[in-house]
């Protein structure tokens, strides 16, 4: 079973990102579930969402405690939440930032992508409130390989309520631009 945890803020689309990932995996013949952890949910508050992917039906319905990958939609969340909790040294940590992976951490397989810039370039939201979840899906596809590029793009298209082409193109570009911080 492959477990992914998303960290973001209310309104950034962490929950939708977890659904897009699950749909992409489902399109490739796997079982997938996605679920949010709502705290005091409101715009701007830290939000966590989870996705589980497995070849077999998924019975486990707890939160994710030992993720294989952690996706950080807003690097400032890292100041207030222990996003690396439960991640081991082989785990993937993908952060939305313009910084290089080495600046984030050397303890995990770290990748960074400037999803905010990509989103703004594609007219998704604006500088203060960019819609970056679809770009993060593209980066996740490249970094983890848990979903193919094609499945990622097709799921992004399907679950984007509007600007389907722009969202798919943002995910596609993030796939190419994500910076991988470890020797493959």
């Amino acid at each position: 079973m492959f477990e992914i945890r998303f960290h973001g803020r209310g309104g950034q689309g962490a929950v939708t990102a977890s659904k897009i990932l699950a749909l992409a995996a489902f399109k490739e013949g796997k079982y997938a579930v996605s679920f949010p952890f709502f705290g005091t949910e409101r715009r701007g508050a830290p939000v966590t969402a989870f996705t589980r992917i497995d070849p077999d039906p998924i019975l486990l319905k707890t939160q994710v405690y030992t993720p294989d990958a952690v996706i950080v939609l807003d690097s400032y969340v890292m100041n207030s939440a222990d996003v690396m909790n439960g991640l081991d040294s082989e785990g993937f940590l993908i952060v939305n930032t313009s910084a290089d992976p080495e600046k984030i951490s050397r303890s995990f397989r770290v990748a960074t992508v400037d999803a905010t810039a990509i989103a703004v370039d594609h007219g998704l939201g604006n500088r203060t409130n960019p819609i970056i979840n679809t770009a993060m899906i593209g980066a996740l596809s490249k970094v983890t390989g848990i979903i193919s590029r094609n499945a990622a793009l097709s799921a992004v298209r399907e679950l984007s309520p509007r600007k389907k082409d722009e969202n798919a193109s943002a995910a596609d570009q993030a796939y190419d631009l994500v910076k991988i911080g470890w020797a493959e």
């Binding site: 977890s18 749909l23 679920f35 949010p36 709502f38 019975l59 319905k61 707890t62």
Partner: protein, 382 residues
């Protein structure tokens, strides 16, 4: 789709003609989806907005009595506010189906999963089903109407989803076609209804000598009849759609088990995952999932625990002054029928996650012969 979307699809497939509800987290997305379907004319139902859950059940009561298949959904405090009308709907023998998204009761305010809200309704005369997957949440709407509308049952049914853990979790769901659903669930033909051409009074008055006591006795009889109806409809559903929900009580890896945990809802699903893992380590454990809490599967439980060395009951609810709500009922059912220790575990109140290690601890306590009642993963000792 999410559990709440699956429920809304079930309502659509059931050809419900009347919906009335008042929104409350985490039920809201069910009625949002249904209101959208009504507005887009994807569903032929009438949707009536009301100012409270008490009125929602009042509206549903009236429409069902007019012979129209009716639906509502609520959670937590909304369900408590509806309590009086639940008795009226059951007492009037109206086969309404309602979804309850199980959420805790304040204070303090808390929106997360707990079953105390629906456990509080156990004596209202409603049948109760606890679902463990989004697929089951959808399928139970279809099965629910068919069971409730069985002529020898005629009692309402509430179908439960754990807050967020089902209601807001997305997983793959197979959608029956409308034709398949229609052939499985025929149109409602209420044997008694409000009819201006044949005016009759309903729910009027009875003295102690009147039929009051006999009517209550008859409800108990119908609840008894529902056991057969549940088994029959579940079998028909399996024949039609290929998904078998095994009636009132589901047995998981029980054939050669020594110890079992009795659970419901999504806790049973995680429990199955743990059972599978413990089995790989050679431990002879199983799980019994209570699908129907009303009628209570007492005979099924007695049969299922025969040969076991110990059982435990996992409750996501509490009855202050005794133990977990299901624990009490299981102990009562097994008293004098099965000579084994029955442990009671209260866990997950207010949405606290019940983790893999919590399940392992419960199984190990059952194997140690624990027969008391205790809390799992609560601070401040047991």
């Amino acid at each position: 789709m999410t559990g709440n979307e699956a429920v809304a699809m079930g309502v659509k497939l059931a050809n419900v003609g009347f919906i009335s509800a008042y929104p409350i987290t985490p039920q809201t997305t069910i009625v949002e989806k249904l209101a959208e379907m009504v507005a887009n004319r994807e569903i032929g139902a009438r949707y009536v907005e009301v100012e409270s859950e008490h009125s929602a059940m009042g509206a549903v009561f009236a429409s069902e009595l007019a012979g129209v298949r009716s639906y509502t959904a609520t959670s937590s405090h909304g369900l408590l506010y509806m309590h009086e009308m639940l008795h009226w709907t059951a007492g009037q023998r109206l086969p309404v189906v309602m979804s309850v998204v199980n959420r805790s009761i304040g204070p303090p305010w808390n929106i997360w999963s707990e079953q105390t809200d629906s456990m509080n309704q156990r004596d209202t005369g409603w049948m109760q089903v606890y679902c463990e997957s989004n697929q089951e949440a959808l399928d139970t709407i279809l099965m629910g109407y068919k069971i409730a509308e069985s002529k020898d049952v005629m009692l309402p049914l509430m179908s439960m989803e754990d807050a967020f853990i089902l209601s807001h979790t997305s997983e793959p769901v197979e959608l029956p076609s409308q034709e398949e659903a229609d052939s499985f669930l025929p149109r409602l033909d209420l044997p008694f209804r409000i009819d201006t051409g044949n005016p009759l009074g309903y729910g009027s008055y009875s003295t102690p000598d009147g039929p009051f006591m006999e009517l209550k006795k008859d409800m108990m009889e119908s609840m008894k009849n529902s056991r057969q109806a549940i088994k029959k409809v579940t079998r028909e559903f399996a024949d039609t759609f290929g998904r078998d929900y095994s009636g009132l009580l589901e047995e998981y890896m029980m054939s050669d088990a020594d110890y079992a945990l009795i659970a419901s809802g999504t806790l049973a699903s995680t429990g199955k995952y743990v059972v599978k893992n413990l089995r790989e380590k050679g431990l002879k454990v199983g799980l019994l999932r209570i699908r129907f809490f009303r009628p209570f599967p007492d005979r099924e439980l007695i049969e299922a625990v025969s040969g076991l060395k110990g059982v435990g009951v996992l409750d996501r609810s509490v009855s202050f002054g005794t133990a977990g709500s299901m624990t009490n009922e299981v102990r009562a059912a097994l008293y004098g029928k099965a000579d084994i220790p029955v442990a009671g575990f209260i866990a997950g109140l207010g949405g606290r996650d019940v983790r893999i290690e919590d399940f392992r601890k419960m199984y190990s306590m059952i194997a140690d012969g624990f027969s008391g009642s205790t809390y799992i993963n609560a601070r401040g000792g047991e």
